[in-house]
């Protein structure tokens, strides 16, 4: 693997509009139930700010993907750019990957009897385009980045947020920028 692509999400910019979720659904015409991308709101009491704060999660294309490890049919592969691709044609719907992922991102589609997840729009990336969710994000809260040591050393870049599983489990390829102190004042 020559590099590791991933997402950088800024909770400072995110307004929780779920435009990224809808862009993903529009791009792939997915059924209603599986949500490849999902916007979450942090519990106010778990973050030391009286703010309304969101983060958006799809497959994290982990450096240590548990889904890939447990899949009995080899439906998961990791590309050279670090994207974890799920091949739905190979999937037999055993659901073991849904048990193994702490982010609940591979999701079982009961209508199709198979698991689905975000493939980071690799076909769009191969044509030089941005992933659908990144392209649709109005406030520019979601970015496609290369996960590097330099990125992790930047001020304000976080590996996790309160309410997320410990990154030690899978080493997810997502980074966050939390809200700045005192800027957002709206309460639930």
């Amino acid at each position: 693997m020559s590099k590791q692509l991933g997402f950088l999400h800024s909770s400072e910019k995110c307004v929780g509009c779920r435009g990224c979720e809808m862009a993903c659904k529009n791009e792939y015409q997915t059924d209603a139930a599986p949500r490849w991308r999902q916007v979450f709101q942090l519990h106010e009491e778990r973050y030391s700010l009286p703010t309304r704060m969101f983060f958006s999660i799809a497959c994290n294309h982990c450096a240590n993907p548990q889904c890939l490890k447990v899949c009995p049919v080899g439906a998961y592969t990791k590309r050279d750019d670090g994207i974890v691709v799920h091949n739905r044609d190979r999937c037999i719907g055993c659901r073991l990957c849904t048990m193994a992922c702490p982010y609940d991102r591979p999701q079982f589609n009961h209508a199709k009897g198979k698991v689905e997840k975000c493939n980071l729009c690799y076909q769009r990336l191969d044509q030089g385009e941005k992933p659908a969710c990144v392209a649709a994000c109005i406030p520019g809260a979601l970015e496609l980045v290369e996960i590097t040591a330099e990125l992790d050393q930047k001020l304000g870049v976080l590996k996790t947020l309160p309410g997320l599983p410990t990154p030690a489990l899978t080493n997810p390829s997502i980074r966050f920028i939390g809200p700045k102190q005192g800027k957002q004042i709206r309460r639930d």
Binding site: K69, C71, V73, C101, K114, P162, P165
Partner: protein, 276 residues
Amino acid sequence: MGTVEWPLVLFTVLGETSIGILLALWWLDRTPLDAGLYRKATLTSGALLGLALVASLFHLGHPEAAYRALTHLGSSWLSREILFFVLAALAWVYLFLQISRPNGQRRVAAGIAGLLGLFGIVSSAMIYVLPRVPAWNSAQTPLFFLLTTGLLGALSLLFLGWKSLSPAQMAGLMYWSLGCVLSSLFSYILYFSQLTGMSPEGLATAQILTTSPLFWLRVITNWGAPLILLLPLFKRKRSFNPNLLLTLLVVSGIGEFLGRALFYLSAVGIHISALK
């Protein structure tokens, strides 16, 4: 996880009982064993193994493509489980051929089938040793699966062979069953104490268990009743009551099914706890 997963409950418990019978046969066959019992136990084991394999297919979204599950042996315990169970089924066919011959190598065949099945059961258990699920992520998961194998295998053979087994063989199976019940009870107490001090997810699992009526029914059927029912058998070794043996098998079987159903139902995985 979070649901009962009946196909998996049936597959694991029936498969473990089947392999347990084969292993018990192999173990008892050190001393002369009645050919009729061998045949009866082998056929029972085969029927249970067949039912287990069929039940496992109902868990899949696409059962017609189940053969593909053999293609990721390098890292997937599910692939290894299927491989070993298929090999155990083939070894069972070999065993069946051996018991049909006058001088067949039945003990070797039972040993091979049992050993392959044992590998399958350990692989089955290892599927659930997932870092995401604290309630499963320990050596106790394979231990529970192996204890089910030992208990139901021995009790099945005890019931099937109550007429033809020698008192020493019966006593051996009873001591083995008692050992499995006691090991299961004490390891579960240890498991439970670890759950409550482990993590929020472990604590949530413990809460689901203690508030579920199924758990208390399991306490009675899996540990309480077998211990009570085994005692009279130890007192009257020479006059075994088949009704008592059948009751012991059925009650313990119910306990094991409940235990396995709760295994799936009560597991809480590490997850995103933010608001959706």
